[in-house]
Amino acid sequence: MENTALAGIASQVRRDIVRMVSAVNSGHPGGSLGCTDFLTYLYFEQMQHNAADFQMDGKNEDLFFLSNGHISPVWYSVLARAGYFPAAELSTFRKLGARLQGHPSTDKNLPGIRMASGSLGQGLSVGLGAAQIKKLNQDSTLVYTLHGDGELQEGQIWEAAMYAAANKVDNIIATIDANGRQIDGDVDEVLSLGDLHQKWVSFGWEVLHMDGHDFDSIRSTMQQAKAMTGKGKPVVIIMKTEMGQGVDYMMGSHKWHGVAPNAEQLQVALDQLAETLGDY
C-alpha cells in the first residue's frame, strides 16, 4: 500500500480515537494516537488476516494480541476500518451493553478480539502460547503482540521473555510502544527500564528498532522482522513513538494518557486531522 494511502487511513483512525473518547469523556487517547500508524500498517499491509470471517481459533492467519489493552480506541477503530465490524459501532465505545468495552474483551464476541487485556503484562505469555500451538498445528502464520513501555515494569513480561528464547519461539514478533511516558510521568522517572535494548538482547531476543511514525521505517523493519522469524529466536521491535501523535496539544507530555478532550479541545484536534474515510 502507498504511504499516502496508509497515512489517509491513519488520519481517519485518529479522528475516530478522539471522537470516541471525547463522546464518553473517558478512555486513553495518548497511547492510542501514538500507536495509530503502527496498527494501521499492521492490519492494512503486514498481516494475513480475514476480517470478513473472524474465527477465534485463527488457524492459518496471523494473530495480533494487544497487551496494553487501554489503547483500545485505536484497535477498535483499526478493526472497524479493516472490516471486522461496522464503523458505526465505534459510537458505542464504553457505553452500557456495548461490545466495545473500555478494555478489550471476548465477553461480548466483538470480532477481531481473541483475549481480554487491560491488566498489564499478560499479552506476551498469551501470544507465546498461541505461537507454540501454531507450530504444533504446523501453521506457518505468525503471532504479533504490542506492549507499552511502562508495561515492561510487570514481571510477567520477563518470565515470558525468558520462556520464549529458551523454547526458541521464533514465530512471534513483539513490538514495544516506546513513548517514554506512563500515567505518573516519564518512564525514566517512574521506574527506569534501564538499557532496554540490552535487556532484550540478554534475554535472547533479536532486537530491532523503528520510528513508529514513519511508514518507510515501519515497513522495512516489519519486513526485516518477518524475515528473521523461523530462525530459532523470538523478535522484538522497540518502536519509538510520541504519545498523542497527530494532535499538537497532546504531544510532549504524559498528561493525555487517560484524559479525554472536551468539546472545544475535540474541535481543535479534529481541525488537525483530515477526514478521509468518512466519520462514523
Binding site: D107, S125, I133, D139, A160
Partner: protein, 320 residues
Amino acid sequence: MEFEVFGNKDTRSGFGEGLAVLGEQNPDVVALCADLTGSLKMDAFQKAHPERFFQAGIAEANMIGLAAGMTIGGKIPFTGTFANFSTGRVYDQIRQSVAYSKKNVKICASHAGLTLGEDGATHQVLEDIGMMRMLPNMTVIVPADFNQTKQATIAIAAHEGPVYLRFGRPVMPIFVKPDAEFVIGKADVLTEGTDVTIIACGHMVWKSIEALKELHAIGISAELINMHTIKPLDAAAILKSVGKTGCVVTAEEHMMNGGLGEAVSQVLSRQYPVPQEYVAVNDTFGESGTPMELMTKYHIDTPDVVAAVKRAIARKSIII
C-alpha cells in the same frame, strides 16, 4: 454400612493417570507444568507426548498466560502446579486471561490444604476454593479419592470452559468404584439417612465415611453426600436430602470463609434454612506437621465430623 476399599493412593496420582489416559485419547490435550512435574505426577504424559508438554519453569503467571493462548489454536491445556501457586499467585492472570476470556484451560492443582503437611503454611493454601468459585465462568471440582480424581481429570477435558481441579498429596483409601461415571455438577449420595446430611468434598469425604461408623453406633442415621463439584453446586441434591434430615454438616479441607460450607449455606439460607455446622479451618494459617496431625490439630478430622453432627442435630430442636 461397609464401604468397599480399592487400595490406598494419593489423589495427585489419579490426576497423573487421568492425564496419561487423555494423552492417548485426545490429541488436543496439552499439558504445562511449573517445575513440579514429578510432584504432579505428570511424568507419564510428558514421556509419552513430549511435543505436547510445555515446561514453564518457576514462572506460574507466564504458564497461565501460555495456557490461555494455547486454547486459541483449539488445544485443551492442563496446567499443573501446587494449589497455592495455581490460584493466589496467579489470580489476576486466571481472572482476565482465563475466566473473563472464557478460555478452555484446566487448572489442575495439587498439594491443596493442610495435608500438604511438613512444608507448612506458606504452601498450605486453604483459600483456593473460595478464590476460584468467586470467578464467573469457572467450574470448581474437588474429587474425593484417587479413582474419582482420575475420572474427573478425564471428564473435564470434555467440558468446554475454565475448570479448577483441586487434589492433594496424602495417600488415602480409595472408595469410588474404578468404573464410576463422573458427572460434573452431580453430587454422589454415598449413604442414605434421616437424621443429618453430611456434605463433604476431597479428603473430608473419607473422614466422613469414618465418622459414619461412630454415628451408626450411637444410633444416628446420616446421609453422606460427596459434593465433588463445588461450582456449579448441586442444589437439588442438597435440598432433597435436607428436606428429609433437617440439618447439615459440611466438611472440607479449606477455610470456613469462602468454601464448600459457604456455598451450601447460600443455597439453604435462600431456599430451606436449617441448622448447619461447619467442619473447616477457621480463619487461621496452618503449620508444619504430618498431614494427619494437622487434620487433628485444626479440627478437620473424624471426631470433628462426629461432634459437628451432634451439634447440628441438637439445634434442630430449637424452635426460633
